[in-house]
């Protein structure tokens, strides 16, 4: 065991931050839901239940333990993958969430891929043609793209591709195990709807970052070495401009997961969002708590991954060990 290099330290500190954030987030969610008026046991059994029956159910659900014990138990159970039992559906919360994640996660990843595949090239092209007609045209498109609400764009896409052209389904979802192609087809329009604003933001940030980098001294050095401006930006600029992009990508992925909750509604997709809404209306707090924790976890893990990528890309974070 040698002296840990700054990189290890950085990762350790970052991981500790992640654990603390998750712990406090769990605390916030737990106590918010605990504050709720109404007794889940009574809610399950109905108004006519006897006090004895309610007390028995409370004991069975562990509701009579002190608050801090219940919190610790809740966290420990979740760490082991046990998110509790949904009393409205009679199924483990983990299983319910996993089923819905099979829609939400592929949708977010698909939207992310589209927005990167469109946003980055557009941003790079605009930066390379800065001040020319291409740049102006692209930036006008981007300005519009940023301003379109994704769910409304989803409606417009349905009008065009489903109602008018009949290319793709208007909504609904065929489970993966029944027909993977149909499942994929039902994710295309929602994916595009989610991707448009994200791609626009990405294109803008990429352009700004690249224009910024282009003004740096080391681009001039590269040109002094014998590269044309475009070659210098391509060889030296793009990688440096990727640093700010990484942060944005992390934020965007987190946002996409939350954004699916809204877009699901347009396309009647059985994702995490619909699960949560049902749970709220039925006062299924175990399910609400589990689902929000999963969403917060997704956000926090994404941020952690971004920071790890930073450490890989930027040698300045790797410390002085040669």
């Amino acid at each position: 065991m040698g002296v840990p290099c700054p990189m290890t330290l950085y990762l350790l500190r970052r991981f500790a931050g992640f654990v603390v954030t998750m712990f406090v987030a769990a605390l916030v969610i737990f106590f918010l839901l605990d504050l709720l008026p109404g007794d889940p046991a009574r809610f399950i059994l109905g108004i006519n239940a006897t006090p004895e029956a309610v007390a028995a159910l409370r004991a069975q659900m562990g509701l009579d333990a002190p608050v801090h014990q219940r919190f610790i138990q809740w966290v420990l159970d979740m760490v082991r993958g046990d998110f509790g039992l949904s009393h409205t559906q009679g199924l483990p919360v983990a299983q319910l969430i996993a089923e819905r994640m099979a829609v939400t996660l592929p949708l977010s990843i698909f939207a992310m891929i589209v927005s990167v595949a469109v946003g980055l090239p557009v941003g790079i092209l605009a930066a390379m043609r800065r001040g020319k007609a291409t740049d102006t045209a692209l930036m006008i498109l981007v300005q519009i793209g940023v301003a379109i609400p994704n769910f409304w764009f989803g409606m417009l896409l349905t009008l065009l591709f489903s109602v008018t052209l009949h290319w793709l389904p208007t909504g609904g979802f065929v489970p993966w195990h029944e027909d993977p192609v149909a499942a994929l087809r039902s994710l295309i329009l929602p994916g595009l709807a989610l991707a448009l604003p994200q791609a626009s933001i990405l294109a803008r940030v990429m352009r700004t970052a690249l224009v910024d980098v282009t003004e740096q001294d080391f681009i001039r050095t590269a040109r002094a070495k014998g590269l044309t401006k475009a070659e210098a930006v391509w060889r030296h600029g793009v990688r440096n401009a990727m640093l700010p992009i990484l942060t944005i990508l992390g934020l965007q992925f987190a946002y996409l997961i939350a954004g699916t909750i809204i877009v699901e509604n347009v396309f009647y997709l059985p994702g995490l969002g619909r699960l949560i809404f049902t749970a709220i209306s039925e006062r299924d707090l175990v399910l609400v708590g589990g689902a929000t924790i999963v969403l917060v976890l997704a956000t926090t893990v994404t941020m952690l991954i971004v920071d790890l990528c930073y450490a890989l890309v930027d040698p300045r974070l790797r410390g002085r060990g040669a």
């Binding site: 700054p6 080391f218 070495k225 014998g226 070659e231 040669a322």
Partner: protein, 520 residues
């Protein structure tokens, strides 16, 4: 035979010329220096030769390299630059790509130059030539010191075996000792390779040391050019004469019999310790940025603290003025003990600080008058008349007009701002003024005036000065006593004439050796 010929070159930005009607000829084997202050157009001239001017500029006139005009086609021009011109820039940290190793960046230059050698064989040779060890190949720029980075830049510029090397202020971001080493390295390489050099600098003595021919630029125009010896011996243009005069630091007379025996400020065994090592603080010993320093300043005395960057002189100054607190030891200002930040308001009024950078020492959103009045806060409640009288007195003392107080900082030049900064330091009628590199951010031609002003104020108000600087000539001109600092400790002390004539400590000797010879 001319390698570079510039004929009636004009470079303008949105109609405003930055370089006007410039004609210049550099022969093969010449070492040509261009001297000028910031904004004189000297760097633009260099960029024009390499075809690297910003797109926003409009250019008229002709630039010929080796008899032929610069190619129109961008790619051909870029390759010409890569093969025949090597460039070294001012700030080596930003001029190197932070995400690539030194080796990769030098190798790229070799590949682009299309010299028929196998690249990885040449990289170690190049590193050796600039005095870097082969182990530096795999390092990233942030892992090197400023001097090492500049050596790597030079190696990169040499990769293509260029006929012309353009060095644009290559040493001004480096500390004094490294500056001299890099200058000597450039001189030696030019001699060995018989390379033509275009050297851009604001430092007339660096040009005199390195160059055979010199051009003097002012406000976009070439005011004088010729052989270095001729121009320096008998300058024709008034501006050249002014620059030469400014580069000679004459001793400012100390006020007669002003120094009293009694100590105004005493620093006793003061240290500033920083913990290191992050999560494992016990692994690395704490850094002693300032290490058990003792010093005294008598009433009316001018003491200078010199040393290379990072020696702890600025940290010490920050503790003395009360911006930071000492980890060990204590200080006495006119009998009042303090450790730093705990300096009581009444005593704060008796001491003030003039910052190095006149551009960042005024809040751009505050009128100069409000900024100047800020220290009056220390004297408690004050009537409006009293306050205005104080401000007027201070502003007039530095040779400016009280009507300027309602204006905002951006309306003033660097020299005027430094005068205003001095006025702010005087507004509480202090007894000690700490001057942190008071003239190094100013153009050479302005430095003399500000130093004269400081000397006059000292005499008129019986001030004591503590000057923090790396500039030995300025220190020799101003100080009664000099303290040399290295790695947090004061290693040598004495009167400037004696100390500089017979330096004892190795650092003082190194500083004296790094000093460029006087011109004329």
């Amino acid at each position: 035979m001319a390698l570079v010929e510039i004929d009636d070159l004009t470079i303008a930005f949105s109609g405003r010329p930055a370089v006007a009607g410039l004609t210049l000829r550099i022969d093969r084997g010449d070492r040509y220096g261009i001297i000028g202050e910031s904004g004189s157009g000297k760097s633009l001239t260099a960029l024009a030769i390499a075809g690297l001017l910003p797109d926003s500029s409009t250019v008229a006139g002709a630039v010929r390299f080796d008899g032929a005009p610069l190619p129109e086609d961008e790619r051909v021009l870029a390759r010409l630059r890569g093969k025949r011109i090597g460039m070294v820039f001012q700030e080596p940290m930003t001029a190197l790509n932070p995400l690539m190793t030194i080796g990769e960046q030098i190798e790229e230059a070799i590949v682009l130059s299309e010299v028929p050698d196998v690249a990885n064989l040449v990289v170690p040779d190049l590193l050796d030539e600039v005095g870097l060890s082969p182990s530096h190949v795999g390092r990233y720029p942030h892992q090197l010191s400023g001097g090492q980075r500049q050596r790597a830049m030079i190696a990169m510029a040499l990769a293509s075996r260029p006929e012309l090397m353009i060095a644009d202020e290559p040493t001004s971001a480096l500390d004094v000792i490294t500056q001299r080493v890099v200058l000597d390295l450039i001189a030696e390489i030019c001699k060995r390779r018989q390379m033509t050099l275009l050297f851009i600098s604001h430092d007339i003595r660096a040009v005199a040391t390195l160059c055979s021919r010199v051009g003097v630029m002012q406000a976009g125009r070439m005011v004088e050019q010729g052989a270095v010896a001729d121009v320096l011996k008998s300058p024709q243009a008034a501006y050249t004469q002014k620059l030469l005069a400014a580069s000679r630091m004459d001793r400012r007379p100390a006020p007669v019999a002003s120094v009293e025996e009694q100590d105004l400020l005493a620093v006793m065994g003061v240290s500033r310790v920083y913990a290191q090592g992050g999560l494992w603080p016990w692994r690395d010993p704490p850094l002693r940025a300032v290490d058990r320093v003792d010093l005294t300043i008598g009433a009316g005395e001018c003491v200078a603290l010199v040393g290379p960057s990072g020696c702890g002189k600025t940290t010490l100054a920050r503790m003395i003025v009360g911006l930071d607190s000492a980890s060990e030891g204590r200080m006495l200002l006119d009998g009042v003990p303090y450790r730093g930040r705990d300096l009581p308001p009444g005593s704060r009024a008796a001491m003030s600080l003039v910052f190095q950078d006149p551009f960042s020492s005024f809040d751009p959103r505050m009128s100069v008058g409000t900024s100047l009045a800020e220290p009056l806060h220390l004297l408690g409640v004050m009537s409006r008349e009293e306050r205005d009288a104080r401000l007027r007195e201070a502003v007039e003392a530095v040779g400016l007009d009280a009507s300027m107080l309602t204006r905002y900082p951006h309306e003033f030049s660097g020299g005027q701002r430094q005068r205003l900064a001095i006025a702010r330091a005087l507004v509480t009628r202090p007894r000690v003024v700490v001057l942190d590199e008071p003239v190094s951010a100013l153009d050479v031609s302005l430095r003399g005036d500000v130093l004269n002003l400081l000397a006059r104020l000292r005499a008129e108000h019986g001030l004591s000065y503590l000057i923090i600087s790396h500039d030995l000539d300025m220190v020799a001109a101003m100080a009664d006593r000099v303290l040399v600092m290295e790695a947090g400790r004061i290693v040598e002390e004495g009167r400037p004439d004696e100390l500089f004539a017979r330096p004892q400590h190795s650092l003082t000797q190194a500083l004296m050796l790094a000093r460029l010879p006087d011109v004329a």
